[in-house]
């Protein structure tokens, strides 16, 4: 399907801060698309440019083939769900939902049936007479959704709509939003800093940092093959190992030389030269851990180490394992915790291993991205990449 909402070379500056720089993005019709990034990455500015609240300094915005860059918000077939919901406090739930149609001067009877239909959709027919300050957070959120959807926008913009809710409610609303998206079938542009929200809802995600797009792709694509160290570190958790290309075995695999470690096999889809500096990223849950040396199979990396830290998290446990100059984070799902005769403990010697396909190589690395990783407790007092 062709692009529906398109940003072409959009830039926006606020004073000395370049909020968005030269971003191009194509969102397909009916897609649930997320802009994901830390606060200040420019994702909300992108949304406000789409809504018409901010005029871009450069670049154009197209909706369904039409250039909407200069149009004021009221002339765009786009509606927003604000982080604060921005429900009108002096109006009842019914009047809030009816606002868009009332402004459009639609017949009273039509407004009534449409609002009733929306109240049904958000299951709040019995709350129609209440004022916003009499509603709970989740109810406000649902009213905000209904108020936006009643205008049948081409695109629904959602600005961190779940951020103000507590965890349990957030998970519930997450599913509701997904259902609503399936039911109404319009394009959703969803802004969030929460990777779990973005991963669970989106058809595609654009990861943003510093006003630029780092990577666009389906959730699995972004998680399994991040293109930059930022994406690797921001989405989920990972270990970074710094080294050089030793040699390439065939079209698919190569060996890496990493200081203090034996040669590491890694899946390769790039054109690499021996001797070229490279960064290996391997996610904690892809690494296996055991007391005994496992039986060796091909295309796997086996490393001996010492457990420096153990964090029990219920459904799984995190281990920090000293291997050469590195502290490698390993995540292990529990099977039968109390039946395990030899649980891994602090200071135990152990083996870790992973399949060559599970690591991925990055040719660029920003030191700052290390700060996004889960850091072991301070008491250990060692840098992550201690040399």
């Amino acid at each position: 399907m062709a692009e529906f909402l398109e940003f072409r070379g959009v830039s926006k500056r606020f004073g000395t801060i370049q909020a968005v720089s030269d971003v191009s993005l194509e969102i397909k019709k009916g897609e649930f698309f997320s802009l994901l990034g830390p606060s200040g990455c420019g994702k909300t500015t992108m949304l406000r440019v789409a809504a018409g609240f901010e005029e871009p300094d450069a670049g154009r915005v197209f909706l369904d083939g039409q250039d909407i860059t200069g149009l004021p918000p009221d002339k765009r077939k786009v509606n927003t769900i604000f982080q604060s919901y921005a429900l009108f406090p002096h109006m009842t739930v019914r009047d809030n939902i009816a606002f868009g149609l009332a402004i459009a001067k639609r017949p009273k009877s039509e407004i009534r049936t449409e609002v009733d239909r929306m109240l049904e959709l958000i299951r709040m027919a019995d709350q129609a007479g209440k004022k916003p300050d009499q509603l709970s957070g989740g109810q406000k959120q649902r009213v905000a959704v209904a108020r936006a959807l009643i205008n049948k926008p081409d695109v629904l913009l959602l600005d961190e709509p779940l951020a103000a809710l507590d965890l349990k409610l957030r998970q519930k609303m997450l599913i509701e939003l997904d259902i609503i998206h399936d039911e109404v079938g319009i394009t959703f542009l969803y802004v969030t800093h929460d990777q779990a929200e973005a991963m669970s809802l989106s058809d595609r995600i654009a990861v943003m940092d510093n006003g630029r797009i780092e990577q666009v792709g389906a959730p699995a694509e972004i998680y399994e093959s991040p293109r930059t160290s930022f994406v690797a570190a921001f989405i989920g958790d990972t270990n970074f190992l710094e080294g050089r290309v030793h040699d390439c075995l065939d079209r698919d695999y190569c060996r890496l030389a990493i200081a203090g470690l034996p040669e590491i096999f890694c899946f390769n889809d790039k054109v690499l030269q021996p001797g070229q500096p490279i960064y290996l990223s391997i996610r904690p849950e892809k690494i296996h851990i055991s007391h005994d040396r496992p039986e060796e199979k091909s295309r796997r990396n086996y490393l001996p180490g010492i457990i420096e830290d153990v964090i029990y998290l219920g459904s799984n446990t995190k281990y920090w394992v000293r291997v050469g100059g590195y502290r490698i984070q390993v995540l292990r799902q529990h099977d039968r915790y109390f039946l395990d005769e030899k649980p891994l403990r602090w200071k135990d010697e152990c083996w870790i291993w992973w399949h060559a396909d599970d690591g991925f190589m990055l040719d660029h690395f920003r030191k700052a991205d290390e700060g996004l990783l889960a850091v072991p407790p301070q008491s250990v007092g060692e840098p992550i990449n201690g040399k």
Partner: protein
Amino acid sequence: MRRRQTEWLVSLPTLAWLTLFVVIPTLLVFVIAFRPANPYGGIGRGWTLDTIRALATPNYLLIAWRTLWISLLTTAICLLLALPAGYTIARAPERWRNRLLLCVIIPFWTSFLVRVFAWRSLLHPEGPVKKALEAIGLVGPEATLLYHPAAVVLVMVYTFLPFTILPIYAAAEKFDFRLVEAARDLGARPFQSFRKIFLPGIRRGVVTAVLVVFIPALGSYIIPDLVGGPSGEMIGNKIAQRVFSDRNLPHASALSAVLVLAVLAPLVAVLVLQRKGKKSDIIMGEAP
């Protein structure tokens, strides 16, 4: 019920003060209106309705009508000017806000009386405003700017404008402007979102502003006296004349009583309206 008792104790001094210096004098004014005058400028014995009857003259009706329309017009103009001003100040960047507010307050550094006299000089037939308007051909050489109801309205607007801007600014400053964005997002044009979302959002500031202008305007005395002339006289001037020239206290009291009732009317109206809207509303209170 202990809380109740403490509340009474705490408000007792204020209550006593108000009773002593507001309620009792006001009641005295009402009482004196029904007493005859005596030739020495005092209050005679006995009771009479003559003074009240004497108020029903065409002259007083004219003055009352003028007082009302000048006050209403002043309030309306003040609101029209203060709404955009308050909105602009509230939306201005933080560092500009205080400077703009300072500009609103600066006139208070000069005595009110001095400022009204300054207007007299400005509007004087030989004054700069008159000369300037004449030069650009807006008024003829015979036109009078001073001693005209329009001059009263002008100076009253000038005097009361800061009192209108401040409560509107206070309400606008607390207003969540994301609501205006939401309205625009839902299809409202700029003026529609101003009227349907911003105005209701700051309605208590507007009510305060109206009361703060309209009530003192009804009782204006100095401004119409200095710039109004005979054709710009208001009820306040008549009260002063009855006291100082005629030395007829009952007559002045009767006029004052009418004024008090006229002031009470909008207050009570607002109270009733707000009771209807919400039980806990207070006139002067801003939105929480």
